[in-house]
Every structure is written in structure tokens, then in C-alpha cells.
């Protein structure tokens, strides 16, 4: 099971991610946010394996958000930009999905993530 957090200021993007995630049983959507501050709060108290972050958000960019939470999870950046500078975050950002993206791209990102994420130890798995 891969525990996910979806962060995007536009609700329809989150809805799309939820539809895609529902087609993959190994994904568990633990939380979704349209507000980056609430997402940051959640990341203090909960642990996630994979965080989908939108780049263009009010108050904070996706890249800055990832900077602030390095090491806490792996990230997938979703964005309408094709020319982002993500240097220095190669170990944190697993994939980069250019909007709009079809299910196949989402699926590929999850498969990549599954390879990157360490085999989970039992005590971290919620009962």
C-alpha cells in the first residue's frame, strides 16, 4: 500500500487524481488539500509515502513546498509548466506530470514511485 497526499489549489485536479487513484488498488488516498498551509499542517502529524503537488498555487509554489518537506516523503510535481528548474531535488521528485496528463502517465509515475519507495517495515503500517 502506498499512502498518498494530493495537493492542488484547483479542486477538479484533485478529483481527476482521485479518479485515477481509484483505478489502482495499491494506492491509499490518505488526504487531499486545496490549501498548501493545511497540507503542511497534515505533514507535521501524519506520514505519507507519496505527495502529489501542484506547482502553481497561491502563497507557495510546489517546488518551495517540496523544499520545505524534503525527506519526509517522495513527491510528484504536477504542473502546466514544462520549463521548471527542479535541480537539487532529483532525489525527492520522482516524476513530473505535465497537465493535462492521461491515466497512463499517472500509472507510470506510481510504478516509478513503487521502485523508489523502500519496502515498508511492518511497524509503520497502520493497523
Amino acid at each position: 500500500m502506498i499512502t498518498c497526499l494530493f495537493l492542488d489549489d484547483e479542486l477538479h485536479s484533485i478529483e481527476l487524481l482521485e479518479i485515477y487513484a481509484s483505478r489502482m488498488p495499491q494506492l491509499h488516498i490518505a488526504a487531499t488539500f486545496t490549501d498548501p498551509l493545511l497540507a503542511a499542517e497534515a505533514m507535521k502529524t501524519q506520514s505519507f509515502d507519496l505527495v502529489f503537488v501542484d506547482q502553481q498555487m497561491p502563497h507557495i509554489t510546489g517546488i518551495d513546498f517540496i523544499q520545505q518537506h524534503r525527506g519526509q516523503a517522495k513527491f510528484v510535481l504536477t504542473t502546466a509548466y514544462t520549463d521548471l528548474n527542479t535541480s537539487g531535488l532529483e532525489n525527492d521528485i520522482i516524476d513530473y506530470l505535465v497537465k493535462p496528463f492521461p491515466f497512463s502517465k499517472f500509472e507510470a509515475a506510481i510504478q516509478k514511485a513503487a521502485q523508489w519507495l523502500p519496502a515498508k517495515q511492518d511497524f509503520t503500517t497502520p493497523l
Binding site: E10, H12, S13, E15, L16, I19, Q56, A80, Y81, T82, D83, V98, K99, P100, P102
Partner: protein
């Protein structure tokens, strides 16, 4: 002013030197020769006069190919010359030097000697005239050559600058257009539409939106390398997308025969050339007759590239608003990228059919761009 004075000075020096040599020669050759400067001057003076007058006549008549005038003037000049000698010998010389012994005048020898020295000085004069005019002509030729060369250079530079300006203008217009339709806004909107269509379980609609998004992204922000090229594979993918989009519009009723032979591999090409051609085909080709599909055949062998397009013409072409990217623009872009002989376009057509053949001989070929050429030129001047 300085030039004129210098010229006169040179003439005086030459005459003095010339006559000095004559005097020296007489002095050593003849016994009892006494140097008489006044006598020498009086003898030489008519010669100098003849030299310059003859020069003037040559300039006046010979220069303009007026032979009869020239000959008549020379004869008159000769008579004037004899007269001058006569006056000097009979009247001026005795006046200036009363003690000198004046030999009696012998008419025949007077005329023969006079003719001889007249001819000698006239020839000197011709020689001087031709030498001077040929030097002058050569100098003028050189100056005009230099002027023409620098003019040509300037025109060339001007032309290149104009091209550069035009390019910059186009770039500005393009940038303006891009800022008008902010690609990020556009893609965010398309993304929203895409999400909604997936949510509404309308996969056809979702596919169409995705296609549109891909097409827009490619033409608005196709990322070129430093040589302005994109992977050929991307360009082919966009042809596919363009075809798919048109098929969606026609509910899959168009008859299109699209074929790629050979492996595009890592080949690169300048962007939007093929798309433009294919889009044109959708405007002008008859697509509804199964017997006459639109043929789009692409062949890649190593780095050579062939694009073949054949179609039946539409009987009625609905003039859509042109985006101004015609075949001429395609030609210019190909020329700029691959050089005049780096590509080949052959079009054959009649009332019914249209065939377009584009060959790029070597996709890897690089031509120095106008931008860099002009910049180098401007940097050196």
C-alpha cells in the same frame, strides 16, 4: 593649393634639369662652348611653349577623337612656333644682347630645324599627356572600384540588418501573441476541461482535449535545441496528433494513408515544417473518397529525409482565415536551416491532383544563421 604648387615646382625642376643636361652635354661635346643662360632660355622658351600648347591641343581635340581639328591646330601651332623663333631671333635677342653676333637667317634650315624640334617637343608632350591620363584613369578606376566595393559592402550589411530587424519584429509579434494566449492559462483551462470530461466519463472528449493540449503545447512552446531543432520523432508524433484531431472532427471519415518508413532514431529537424505542410493538406485535399486517400509518406534513411504528399484536390476550397504560413515561409525556413542546396522541393500538379516532394539531403547539416553572421559582421566593423 599645395597640390598645384607642388605640380608647378615639379615641372620647373624637370625643365631645369633637362636643359642643364643639354648644356652639360654641349659643354663637353663642343670646343669653345660658352654657357649663355639667356641664349639658352630664349632657345628653349618656344619649345616649352610648344610642349604645353601641344598638350592642351591633345587634351582639347585628340581626347575627343577630333582628328581633323587636331591636325589643323598642330599645323597652326607649327607656324606659330616658327614665328616665335623668328621674332626672338630677329627682334628680342638683339634687344637683350646687343653685343651678340647674329647669324643670318637660312630659310630652309630654319624650317627643317624648326620642324625637327617642334616634332620632338610635341612628342614629349604626347608622351606626357598619355602618361598622365593613364595614371589618372587608373587612379579613378581604383577609387571608383573602392567606392563600389564599400557601397556593396554597406548594401550587403544593410540588407542583413534589415533581415535581422524583420526577424526581430517577427519574434516580437510571436512573443506578443504568446503573452496574449498565456500558455499556462490555456493549459490550466484545458486541464480543467480534461478533468471534467474524465469525471463525466466521456473518453472521446477527454482524448480530444488531450490532443488539443498536445498540439498547442508543441506549437506554442516546442523546446528547440541551440540549433533550433527538435527530435524528428516529436514532429512525427505531432503529425499523428494533427491527423487524429482531424479524424475526430470528421468522425473518422477521412481517408488518409500515413506511413513512416525507416527509423527516425535520434534524427533532429527544424520544428513545425511538416505540421504546416500537413495542415495545408487538410485545407486543400479531398479526403472523402476512399479511392483517393491523402497520401503522406515519410522516409528516413540515415540522415536523409523525404516527405511525399499526394492528394486529389478539393473541388471547392473554403477559404479559412490564413495564418500566413505558406509554402514560401517553409522554403525560407528550410533555406535558412539547411542552405540553398541542402533541401529540394518539387511540386507537380494539374487540375485534379497535387504532389509535393520535400527532400532534406542531410538532416545534420548546419548553416550559419543570419543572426550570427550579421552579429559577427557588426562586431568587426
Amino acid at each position: 593649393m599645395g597640390l598645384f604648387k607642388k605640380k608647378y615646382l615639379i615641372h620647373i625642376i624637370v625643365w631645369v634639369t633637362f636643359q642643364s643636361i643639354g648644356i652639360a652635354s654641349n659643354y663637353f661635346r663642343l670646343q669653345n662652348y660658352e654657357v649663355d643662360l639667356l641664349d639658352t632660355f630664349l632657345t628653349v622658351f618656344p619649345n616649352i611653349v610648344i610642349f604645353y600648347l601641344s598638350f592642351y591641343l591633345t587634351f582639347k581635340f585628340l581626347n575627343k577623337q577630333k582628328w581633323p581639328f587636331f591636325l589643323a591646330a598642330e599645323v597652326l601651332l607649327f607656324i606659330f612656333y616658327l614665328g616665335l623663333f623668328y621674332i626672338i631671333g630677329e627682334y628680342i635677342s638683339p634687344l637683350l644682347n646687343p653685343s651678340a653676333e647674329i647669324p643670318p637667317l637660312m630659310l630652309t634650315s630654319f624650317i627643317i630645324d624648326g620642324l625637327w624640334s617642334f616634332l620632338v617637343y610635341s612628342f614629349y608632350s604626347f608622351g606626357y599627356y598619355f602618361a598622365e591620363t593613364s595614371i589618372k584613369k587608373e587612379r579613378q578606376l581604383r577609387i571608383s572600384e573602392e567606392a563600389r566595393f564599400s557601397l556593396e559592402q554597406q548594401q550587403q550589411l544593410q540588407k542583413q540588418e534589415n533581415l535581422l530587424l524583420q526577424q526581430e519584429k517577427l519574434q516580437l509579434e510571436n512573443d506578443f501573441l504568446r503573452s496574449q494566449i498565456n500558455p499556462h492559462t490555456l493549459h490550466n483551462i484545458l486541464n480543467m476541461l480534461y478533468s471534467k470530461s474524465i469525471k463525466a466519463d466521456a473518453p472521446d472528449l477527454a482524448d480530444a482535449i488531450m490532443l488539443l493540449s498536445n498540439l498547442m503545447r508543441y506549437s506554442l512552446e516546442s523546446a528547440t535545441d541551440s540549433n533550433g531543432r527538435v527530435p524528428l520523432e516529436k514532429e512525427l508524433e505531432q503529425i499523428n496528433n494533427t491527423i487524429k484531431m482531424n479524424q475526430l472532427r470528421s468522425s473518422n471519415k477521412f481517408h488518409i494513408d500515413f506511413k513512416v518508413t525507416g527509423d527516425p532514431g535520434s534524427a533532429r529537424v527544424i520544428p513545425l515544417i511538416l505540421i504546416t505542410l500537413v495542415e495545408n493538406a487538410f485545407k486543400y485535399a479531398e479526403l472523402n473518397e476512399p479511392a483517393y486517400p491523402l497520401q503522406l509518406h515519410i522516409t528516413v534513411v540515415d540522415t536523409s529525409f523525404v516527405f511525399y504528399m499526394h492528394n486529389k484536390k478539393k473541388t471547392v476550397v473554403i477559404h479559412e482565415t490564413s495564418h500566413g504560413i505558406g509554402i514560401e515561409n517553409t522554403r525560407q525556413r528550410l533555406k535558412a536551416a539547411y542552405g540553398n542546396d541542402g533541401y529540394d522541393i518539387r511540386i507537380t500538379q494539374n487540375d485534379q491532383y497535387y504532389t509535393f516532394h520535400l527532400t532534406i539531403h542531410d538532416l545534420n547539416k548546419q548553416v550559419e544563421t543570419i543572426h550570427t553572421a550579421v552579429k559577427n559582421e557588426l562586431a568587426t566593423t
